[in-house]
């Protein structure tokens, strides 16, 4: 949909009916609206629905093992007869409660590192960038296995682990932006007036970079959900008996010969939905703020 898809009354020079105006408003920001809507759905599924649905995800009903969706089990059952919907909701909570804080952590570290490098003397900046390149090229798998063997993988350690993997991309972006903005008039003026580096960073640079940061931050949330789900898929994320979307998919894949589509689609679609939500929201914000630089 575009600006021209839905003719608003205003484009014809007449006062617009409220509904038409509202539809037009949505149409102009369709990507953003779509993104926010899906985000709301995912957040609901992850944080609210688990407390609304009464079934116990760990209760075993062997007589009803591997059944498709029915009245009793809206999303069917797994190989032990557990309620898939309950598992999905429980897994959603476990996934989001780790992925979101991890994204925030990565965001904070990335911005801090990027600003520090961008405002640092040239030699320090170069060194920091080389280290950053090295971390970027590092296969995250190796880091993850290393830490997974040292610590018990509870929520805290997973948040730290994920957070410490995804910050380099943002750091590089922030540093480039900081370098670009550093030479601009308002920054030079502030320096003239005796403002310290921290002040410049906080007040001026962040303000200017805010749109870029928000957009990238949104993408990072999607990446975080994806990273956690991939980890869980490989057995290194959320630990049993707690399930997550990634681990549900992995269990389903193990029995794929039995055609368990009701065990594969829901967790997959929810991870997909999370990434899509992040993508659309970020894109929408980008479109909205694209010209304000």
């Amino acid at each position: 949909m575009s600006e021209h898809a839905i003719p608003t009354a205003t484009s014809a020079g007449m006062p617009a009916a409220p509904l038409a105006r509202w539809l037009g408003w949505i149409g102009q920001r369709s990507t953003l609206v779509a993104g926010l809507t899906i985000t709301a759905v995912i957040l609901f599924v992850g944080f609210i629905a688990p407390f609304l649905y009464p079934a116990d995800p760990y209760a075993i009903h062997p007589a009803h093992a591997l059944e498709g969706p029915s009245a009793a089990f809206p999303l069917g059952t797994d190989e032990l007869g557990r309620d898939e919907l309950a598992l999905l909701l429980s897994g959603g909570f476990a996934t989001l409660v780790v992925a979101l804080p991890a994204a925030i952590l990565a965001f904070v570290v990335g911005v801090a590192y990027g600003l520090a490098a961008g405002l640092a003397p040239a030699w320090l900046d170069r060194l920091m960038m080389r280290i950053l390149d090295a971390v970027l090229a590092l296969p995250s798998l190796i880091i993850l296995i290393f830490f997974a063997s040292l610590v018990t993988l509870d929520n805290t350690s997973l948040i730290l682990l994920l957070g410490l993997i995804s910050w380099p991309g943002l750091a590089r972006l922030v540093r480039n932006e900081a370098l670009a903005q550093r030479g601009r008039d308002f920054v030079l003026a502030a320096e003239q007036l005796g403002a310290g580096r921290m002040y410049i960073a906080r007040v001026h640079l962040l303000r200017v970079m805010a749109p870029v940061l928000v957009v990238n931050g949104t993408f990072m949330v999607g990446d975080s959900v994806f990273a956690l789900s991939s980890l869980s898929f490989l057995g290194l994320g959320v630990q049993p008996p707690q399930v997550s979307w990634g681990s549900l998919l992995e269990s389903a894949l193990d029995i794929i010969a039995l055609d368990p589509w009701w065990l594969i689609l829901p967790p997959g679609l929810l991870v997909f939905g999370s990434l899509l939500a992040a993508s659309l929201t970020g894109q929408g914000l980008l479109q909205r703020w694209g010209g304000h630089r």
């Binding site: 063997s149 049993p240 029995i255 794929i256």
Partner: protein
């Protein structure tokens, strides 16, 4: 030059021959399987019988080298499949005279006792890194090993031992190795060459390794110089398949001939065409929950009442029924389902010191001073009866078993939390500092004689949990060093009452087999032994003969 009629006759002859030949050929070998593809349960990383640390590697080596002693599913020596024809033990069990049958290496050389001595020399050189170290007392229990002549050798032990125990656990490890081919290599070279197919050119078993695609499959062809019965296929492949479910999918697609059958697939595979379910003889293994008695954080494990309570909480029957579809064996003591011939008569009658009895479990905990806390978990002096169990990733069946154990424990007020790690990390943790682990989900294989010197004796090499009990040590000692079975029986009953580890149910080995393949029951021996000569095929998937 030849007359036309003559040429026609020759042509007719060849045509007739062409028609008759395949029929004749098939009649000559109606059971030829072509290529047989069997899954290995893990990645094959070695073909050397010296370094066979895991089942998959043991089997990969097994088919190339004959066993000295073949122990069948009734825990008896099958002389027809062993390289020895007679073993004479002295009365005190210190001296063993062994006779080898005439047998040849693939280059025509005779298999002699010199080859047995060579194998033993290598075992000693490997020291503690030899996978069979400590089992059957090997190698330190042997005082001397001498060749009387080419087909006879004598073993003298450092002290008297129970002959059955030594023959099954110790003597059986002396696989003859081709000394005339390998003696030019040192140990390091043997280790470096263990996955190189060309290194294994001198063999005495039915199959020869032709090709090895690392991490994927090992391709064997028949050994033309094999002294035993001819195998009935032209290629044999061990293939490594990641995940039980994938194997089922593969056999459904016709890509492999045998597949494991994870329990969750049991109902789903009933109607797959061209495939049948076959239960093979029970394996000499069981699962157990290892307990770390050295860790003061879980000092409650040291109280035998707590351990018995844990054992009594377990409804093995229900687990076998629900998860294993009835295909499993209850295990309450140290005897595996394949060693039942050595089980004490009292236990064979079903009269175990421990068994499913939640009321008794709670009573035991109460007697041990525990009272239920607000969340239902037992506690004593402010400490909750809660522990963390290590499990190795990779098995849905294993995960289900852990969850059942967890649920059953919770029903009597014991909390078990799960920490999943990679298998080799689990081993590292169990061998590490005393407070590094609390419990671990593990399993053990037995060779045939179910004594406990490796697991439950004080300081035993597999005794990671630090269990130590004087009576146990005495009983184990007697079962291993004194003749007869009474000490063994007493040990079994005592171990069942003591639960140094919490013994768990043993799944029955159930396979999916392609309809054209037969003889699978005899192919898989207990304890990982394999006999490829027993496999044969029928083109129409007819009845087993």
């Amino acid at each position: 030059m030849l007359g036309r009629a003559h040429r026609m006759k020759i042509l007719a002859f060849f045509l007739a021959a062409a028609l008759v030949w395949p029929i004749a050929a098939r009649a000559a070998d109606p059971h030829d399987c072509g290529t047989v593809i069997v899954p290995a349960n893990a990645d094959i990383t070695s073909f050397s019988p010296l370094f066979a640390n895991a089942l998959a590697n043991g089997q990969a080596a097994e088919v190339m080298y004959e066993n000295l002693i073949w122990i069948d599913r009734h825990a008896q020596i099958d002389w027809s499949r062993s390289l020895v024809t007679a073993i004479t033990a002295s009365d005190d069990g210190t001296t063993y005279d062994v006779t080898l049958r005439p047998w040849h290496w693939s280059d025509g050389t005779l298999v002699t006792s010199a080859d047995v001595l060579y194998g033993f020399k290598l075992i000693k050189e490997l020291g503690t890194t030899y996978p069979g170290y400590g089992q059957g007392g090997m190698p330190d229990i042997i005082k001397s090993l001498t060749a009387t002549d080419a087909t006879h050798f004598r073993v003298v032990l450092t002290h008297p031992a129970n002959p059955t125990w030594f023959i099954y656990e110790g003597l059986s490890q002396l696989t003859p190795l081709p000394s005339h081919d390998w003696s030019r290599y040192n140990i390091d070279q043997l280790w470096q060459l263990q996955t190189t197919p060309s290194f294994y050119k001198t063999i005495d078993g039915p199959l020869r390794l032709e090709r090895f695609d690392i991490g994927r499959d090992a391709v064997y062809v028949p050994n033309p110089a094999f002294d035993g019965p001819k195998v009935k296929f032209s290629r044999f492949i061990f293939t490594f398949i990641e995940g039980d479910g994938v194997a089922v999918q593969q056999i459904e697609a016709g890509n492999i001939d045998v597949s494991g059958l994870p329990t969750e697939f049991y109902s789903g595979v009933q109607h797959i065409p061209g495939v049948r379910i076959e239960q093979i003889a029970p394996q000499a293994s069981y699962d157990y929950l290892g307990l770390n008695l050295k860790n003061s954080k879980v000092a409650f494990f040291r109280d035998v009442r707590v351990r018995d309570a844990m054992a009594d909480s377990q409804d093995q029957k229900k687990f076998i029924q629900v998860v294993l579809h009835g295909l499993g064996y209850e295990v309450h003591g140290p005897v595996t389902p394949a060693n039942l011939a050595f089980e004490a008569p009292q236990l064979q009658r079903g009269d175990y010191p421990t068994g499913y009895d939640p009321a008794k479990a709670r009573a035991l905990l109460k007697a041990a001073g525990f009272t239920p806390g607000p969340d239902g978990i037992m506690q004593k002096d402010g400490q909750r009866l809660s522990f963390v169990v290590l499990t190795a990733t990779g098995s849905t069946e294993g995960d289900e078993m852990i969850e059942f154990i967890q649920a059953d424990l919770r029903a009597v007020g014991i909390e078990m939390k799960v920490h999943e790690v990679e298998f080799n990390q689990m081993l590292a943790i169990m061998n590490g500092p005393a407070d590094g682990w609390e419990a671990a989900d593990s399993g053990m294989f037995s060779n045939g004689y179910p004594s406990g010197e490796g697991l439950f004796a004080t300081g035993a090499y597999l005794n990671n949990g630090g269990y130590s009990d004087k009576t146990m040590d005495q009983l184990i000692n007697d079962s291993v060093n004194k003749p007869g079975l009474s000490a063994l029986y007493a040990y079994e009953i005592y171990a069942s009452a003591q639960q140094p580890v919490i013994f768990g149910a043993s799944p029955a080995p159930v396979l999916l087999v392609s309809d054209r393949l037969h003889g699978v029951y005899d192919f898989y021996g207990p304890g990982g032994l394999l006999d490829p000569t027993k496999l044969y095929c029928t083109s129409d998937g007819g009845t087993e003969s």
